[in-house]
Amino acid sequence: MSTTQVKFYQVGSFAVGNRLLRDDERSVQSDPDRTNALTSGHRACQGCGEALGARYALDAAMRATNDQLIAVNATGCLEVFSTPYPESSWRVAWLHSLFGNAPAVATGVAAALKAKGNTTTRVVAQGGDGATVDIGLGPLSGMFERNDDVLYICYDNEAYMNTGVQRSGATPPAARTATTQAVGKQPGNLFGQGKYLPKIAMAHDIPYVATATIADLRDLEAKVERAMTMRGARYLHVLVPCPLGWGSASADTIKIARLATQSGLFPVFEAINGEVVASSKIRHRVAVDEYLKLQARYSHLFSPQRNDQVIDHLQRIADKNIERYELMGE
Amino acid sequence: MFQVRIHGRGGQGVVTAAELLAVAVFDGGKHAQAFPSFGSERTGAPVVAYCRISDHEIRAREPIMEPDVLIIQDASLIKQIDVFAGLQPRGYVIINSAETAEELQLADKIKVPHSLAILPATELALTHLGRPVPNAVLLGAFSALTGVVPLEAVASAINEKFKPKIAAGNVAAATAAYEYVMNQVATHA
């Protein structure tokens, strides 16, 4: 995690202004000369978590690489809302190929640069949860196995959003989607084994695996920048709430991301060569209810009355995460 | 056009034999086309390879149905499949075996007039090469019986294909096979 010693001038809150930081410690977004990799004019929904995350991530990557970056994008919301021909929101060299092949395409870009003796230009691949954990898993694993020099960023909004909110391998249990409706004996997504990509990435022992959310944007930036100091296969999994798909208020996007971390449902940590080396501690722990309540995709768990069995099951998942990743404490 | 068909079992280097023959022919300045009958590779299963030899460009690619020469690397195949199918009259037959023509019951099997050479190629391979791989050895016999490629060309093909130590053993074995068959021919003359 990034840590900086700062003098507090505000008591009773954690807000610390950027004016107290050195230039190189400031958010990339405070720099008027930043790339603005994903510039305005794109067609994302109001309150889109992915647009926010991608902008921060790529601007950080551009700063970290002195603007020597090529981005590969999978099919999905990010690609669709950013490049409605003949317009493009991207101010970086950017390639979109297909849905399931972003890791492989990025491998190809990296290979071409290597063949040309270019050791300066770096490669970032990005895709949603569907592209990453389902259809792109084969190529992603191949990229990990070969340790190709690519940072892969997964923007996880926990369903196939661009096609109308269908369930993906990353959809949490009990969540309502267009293909896991809130009806019947087990409303919403079934409780399965899950497909927790950060652990799969760690199982490949790749140089760097980290999770982040758009509730802690400085942390996201720092992780991208840290990843870009390394070579080889790196993986960053970012939780990006989707107001439309999750049925939440567009103004609540960041709040919901924070509740995901504070409840323990989304652990935030870093791993090097397959071993967890740091985790973000929960500051104000909340019950999972606080997180679930704000999202219509879970409304069937509260109405007509609280579904104790399911919510308690989700709470146990949160508890297990907190224990496994040591999320309480200093 | 001279057509050679080689029969053996998977693992005996039948395809390599066809390749070596093709290279020997090429080294001698002629055209050659060699190819296997393609099956899933399986040790011990019957394998066939073909080699066409010509002074001109070879254009046809069908399997060789009417061979001028048959090389039988594994005599146990004689009882199992009709290895002699299509043999051309006045064709050549080379068989790797320690048995005689009578013991192999060839009279029942080969219906056309032909030149025959039977030699213990596996034993020659063991002696000169230390391994029971008769493929290159039998090309020495081919050279002696048909005269289509000189022994030198067979040797040069072997030296191109194999590492020096293995090549030397194969050349020695092929030479021994050549002399064996020349003696056999002389004896029957």
Partner: protein
């Protein structure tokens, strides 16, 4: 240099002589010897400044190729049959993005049922994909077509499939002249991409094109394919000037002058057909063969000119459209429309069934007398299939 070498090895050496920068491949029979050969050349340093990526599937192979080519690197891959189908999404993507990737297709039948032997069903299934398709008659042409393919691809900004019959050519040892790297360099200049991923001049490649523009984009691709025919010819001509061999191009005619019957075919069967034609001509028969090298772009004018004056054309195909019949036939029929030439189709060699000189001789003798059906499956076991057909019909 003239060498007696396996077809796959010849292709590997020819591709290496073109100095690709990225090779990515997934093994599948009967292409394996090609990628093994290239892997060796990269590993032992014979082919320098080249990244050889062992990918996890054919879909990954074409995807890696897309990323590499979009970054401005000369890129090569190879596949066959099931592998080609597994990468189809990426195949269309490559042509849609205008990437000059060269790919060998070691023609093999598509399953089910699984069959590893040669026919043309794999590449034929991709005839609409926007890739050029060039078919090699023999291993010399396979070598030459790969070299020509890189130049055609890069000058047109279109991907090219070089098709060579699996096993029949890939695993045949014959005499081939393989140009050296320097000789190829004089013919094939370094790759200068029309556009590529470059942080210095960032572009967005792969935007979403809506209904208002998609037709135009596709029309441009259609026109480009038509225009590529001239490029195929131009490159073949320049190849002949450099290397002294007439290979590649759109098609070649053999003994068709004044022929009443002309056979049209693609790939290695052309060689066998030439032998049959020679035999029949010795018997005084009026028959010749047109070997089609370029199937895409389909050279309508050249085919019409080559068949002009014949009474009938026999199209020999190693693939077919289920329930319909010949595939190449459809294009040929369009080419000769209104010319008063009858067309007949013979489907042969499916799944590697050997096509023999005697079968061809019999069939063509009947064909010359028009004593054949419009559509024939050569050497079919009629009795066996009739029993099955009757059984199936009775059960319905």
């Amino acid at each position: 240099m003239l060498r007696q070498v396996e077809g796959s090895k010849a292709v590997a050496d020819a591709v290496a002589a073109c100095q690709p920068e990225v090779i990515c491949a997934y093994p599948i029979s009967p292409q394996t010897h090609i990628v093994e050969g290239l892997s060796q050349l990269v590993k032992d340093g014979t082919l320098p400044n080249c990244e050889f990526i062992n990918v996890e599937s054919e879909f990954a192979a074409m995807s890696v190729a897309i990323g590499s080519s979009a970054t401005g690197a000369r890129t090569y891959t190879a596949t066959a049959s099931q592998g080609l189908l597994y990468m189809v999404e990426a195949v269309y993507n490559a042509s849609g993005l205008g990437l000059p990737i060269v790919m060998t297709v070691a023609n093999r039948a598509i399953g089910g049922p699984i069959n590893i032997w040669n026919d043309h069903s794999d590449s034929m299934s991709q005839r609409d994909s926007g890739w050029l398709q060039l078919y090699a008659e023999n291993n010399q042409e396979a070598v030459d077509l790969h070299i020509q393919a890189f130049r055609i691809a890069e000058e047109m900004s279109m991907p090219v499939m070089v098709c060579m019959d699996g096993f029949i050519l890939t695993h045949a040892y014959e005499q081939v002249d393989i140009p050296t790297t320097d000789e190829v360099k004089a013919f094939l200049p370094p790759f200068v991409p029309r556009q590529h991923l470059d942080p210095a001049e960032p572009v967005s490649i792969g935007a979403m094109v809506g209904p208002e523009s998609f037709m135009e984009v596709k029309y441009l691709a259609h026109q480009r394919m038509i225009d590529s025919a001239a490029k195929v010819q131009e490159v073949a001509k320049d190849f002949e000037a450099h290397f002294g061999r007439k290979t590649g191009g759109l098609l070649r005619s053999y003994r068709t002058e004044g022929a009443e019957t002309i056979v049209l075919a693609l790939g290695s069967i052309i060689g066998t057909l030439k032998d049959v034609i020679d035999e029949l001509q010795l018997d005084g028969k009026s028959i010749g063969v047109v070997g089609l090298t370029s199937f895409r772009p389909f050279p309508y004018e050249s085919v019409a000119a080559a068949l002009k004056g014949a009474k009938r054309v026999i199209i020999l195909e190693k693939a077919f459209s289920t329930g319909t019949g010949g595939i190449v036939t459809q294009d040929v029929a369009r080419a000769i429309e209104g010319m008063g030439i009858k067309d007949f189709t013979v489907i042969a060699g499916l799944g590697g069934r050997p096509i023999t000189i005697s079968s061809l001789r019999n069939y063509l003798t009947n064909a010359m007398a028009e004593n054949i059906d419009r559509l024939t499956f050569l050497d079919l076991e009629i009795d066996t299939v009739e029993v099955e057909i009757n059984k199936e019909r009775a059960q319905r």
